[in-house]
């Protein structure tokens, strides 16, 4: 089963505070370890919302709103796609990641696969 593990921004991330070298090393080690566990399929992190934009559609009218946005903690900071055997396993990987990088919130969601659409 495939899960998308999304971690949310902290205010510091949104403010563009770069992770300390120790933190970067910890993240690197986590990535390496989850690759060694054979579970990590893909993953990316994103820049603060000031470097992004939002497309909103209301009643068919499209609005493009440039960042930054006020609700920093409601924004995704990055994701990983994990291949694991259960939701519980994905949660354990998310737990380790949260403790390591100091994320305050992580969502673990199952990726829709072809068999779900049958």
């Amino acid at each position: 089963m495939r899960y998308m593990v999304m971690h949310y921004q902290t205010q510091a991330m949104e403010d563009g505070v770069l992770p300390t070298p120790e933190m970067q090393a910890a993240i690197g080690q986590y990535m390496q370890e989850s690759a060694m566990a054979g579970v990590l399929l893909s993953g990316e992190g994103v820049a603060p919302s000031s470097a992004g934009a939002r497309v909103e559609v209301t009643d068919g009218r499209v609005r493009v709103i440039d960042g930054p946005y006020a609700e920093a903690k409601e924004l995704i900071a990055g994701f990983a796609i994990l291949e694991v055997r259960s939701l519980a396993e994905a949660v354990e990987h998310a737990r380790k990641f949260a403790l390591l990088v100091g994320a305050e919130r992580i969502d673990v969601r199952r990726v829709i696969e072809y068999s779900d659409l049958q």
């Binding site: 060694m36 566990a37 054979g38 990590l40 399929l41 519980a88 396993e89 737990r95 380790k96 068999s115």
Partner: protein
């Protein structure tokens, strides 16, 4: 709702953490049985402590620390029993402390690699290697392994016990093979991974869902091995090959469970993420510029199919060239037959027939229904419908599966119609 089911959480953490815990323990104590006993003790300690105090914030770290503590304790007790370090420890305890610390906190990559080499050791039979690897390196329990291989649980349990006994009898301890030994040992590991993958991949329709789990476990092992030996082109090749093959798992089965051939698959159903991973691995192999081995070449062939959005876009000349290479380094009649198909598609049916005809004299191919099936297909393209018909009838007679027999008979009938029509 907060999820705090102790037995379930512990079981999950165990599945996730046990490979690295076992790997480290095996390195510390040398043999699998002692390592498993210590792991069991760790597990029991966790149940007792967590039941009293709740699940810790970082259960994985707790298990690792406890296992480490129990191992160090055992090593100390062993040493004391031997009386070897007793005096030394009394005079310079700090040094002993440091040494154990260094040994205990070695590289996780080495631990895992050592465990993989041990479970895939050439002294073990292929069945024993797969069972032991799935249990120790993938963290499956005996029941899971039995279910995946469609054999009774006691059979697998016995297989694992016997495998461990064989390792012990041959005095095989945790070790990282040196540079001269390593290529052959890696071959043995790759063989296990590909075997497990194919066990799942070639499953018949009824048990397909369960057996696909074997493909998942093989992929997990392949991904582990590739991250542990990132510059080994054959390991990357094997992983690329199975990532791309697995990308077609859904598309290769029709609505009634019947197999769908590669050229007839709905390519929009191929798993794009797995294809991207497979193609990226192929690029990495190219960058490493090593001599391409059999897995890397098969991966390159698989990549040609994966890149073609429509079957008609397939780069057959490249596939034919890759099969030429494969036929040179890993010659086999089956490779030759595939080379005939690719060459036929790339350079016309006569070129393909030139490769197919000598295969009819090969003893291993005598009862292989795909040989006349391919020959029939090539003759059909060449316009020789009478000979094609003979081949298809022969293929139908040899086919062991009802579906394939029906397809071959149908093609023979179509040839007959052609033959009459053109006469």
């Amino acid at each position: 709702m907060e999820a705090t089911d102790l037995p379930a959480t512990l079981a999950t953490v165990w599945r996730v953490e046990s490979p690295r815990i076992i790997a480290r323990l095996v390195r510390l104590v040398g043999d699998i049985d002692t390592a498993e006993e210590l792991a069991q003790d760790t597990f029991v300690a966790a149940i007792e402590k967590w039941r009293r105090e709740g699940i810790p914030n970082n259960p994985a770290a707790w298990l690792n620390t406890t296992a480490r503590f129990l191992a160090v304790d055992l090593i100390r007790r062993r040493d004391t029993q031997r009386g070897k370090y007793q005096q030394v420890a009394a005079t310079i305890p700090r040094t002993t402390e440091l040494d154990i610390g260094q040994i205990v906190d070695g590289d996780l990559a080495d631990d895992l690699l050592g465990l993989i080499f041990m479970s895939c050791h050439p002294v073990l039979s292929p069945d024993a290697r797969s069972a032991l690897t799935l249990k120790l390196v993938c963290g499956l329990n005996t029941g899971d392994v039995a279910r995946a291989f469609l054999v009774p649980e006691p059979t697998i349990a016995q297989r694992i016990v016997r495998a461990k006994r064989t390792l012990a009898a041959a005095n095989i301890r945790f070790e990282l093979p040196g540079p001269t030994e390593r290529p052959a040992r890696l071959d043995a590991v790759r063989e296990v991974i590909y075997l497990v993958f194919n066990e799942g991949y070639s499953a018949t329709s009824g048990d397909r869902w369960i057996r696909n789990e074997l493909c998942d476990e093989a992929l997990r092992l392949g991904r582990m091995l590739a991250s542990l030996t990132p510059n080994d082109t054959e390991t990357l090749g094997l992983l690329a090959l199975i990532e791309i093959q697995a990308s077609r798992l859904v598309a290769r089965v029709g609505p009634h469970g019947e197999p769908v051939l590669l050229m007839d698959q709905d390519r929009t159903r191929w798993d794009r993420l797995l294809i991207r991973r497979g193609l990226a691995l192929n690029e990495r192999i190219d960058q490493l510029r090593g001599t391409a081995g059999p897995y890397a070449l098969q991966a390159a062939i698989a990549a040609c199919h994966a890149r073609a959005t429509r079957a008609a876009d397939t780069d057959w000349p490249r596939i034919a060239a890759l099969y030429d290479g494969l036929a040179q380094i890993a010659p086999s009649p089956v490779v030759e037959l595939n080379r005939a198909v690719a060459t036929g598609r790339a350079f016309g049916p006569q070129a393909g027939l030139g490769i197919v005809r000598p295969l009819f004299d090969h003893p291993a191919m005598r009862n292989y229904h795909l040989l006349p099936a391919v020959a029939g297909d090539l003759c059909c393209s060449a316009g020789d419908h009478d000979e094609a018909r003979q081949h298809f009838l022969r293929a139908a007679a040899l086919a062991t599966n009802g579906q394939e027999r029906a397809t071959m008979q149908q093609r023979a009938v179509q040839c007959a119609a052609h033959h009459v029509g053109s006469a």
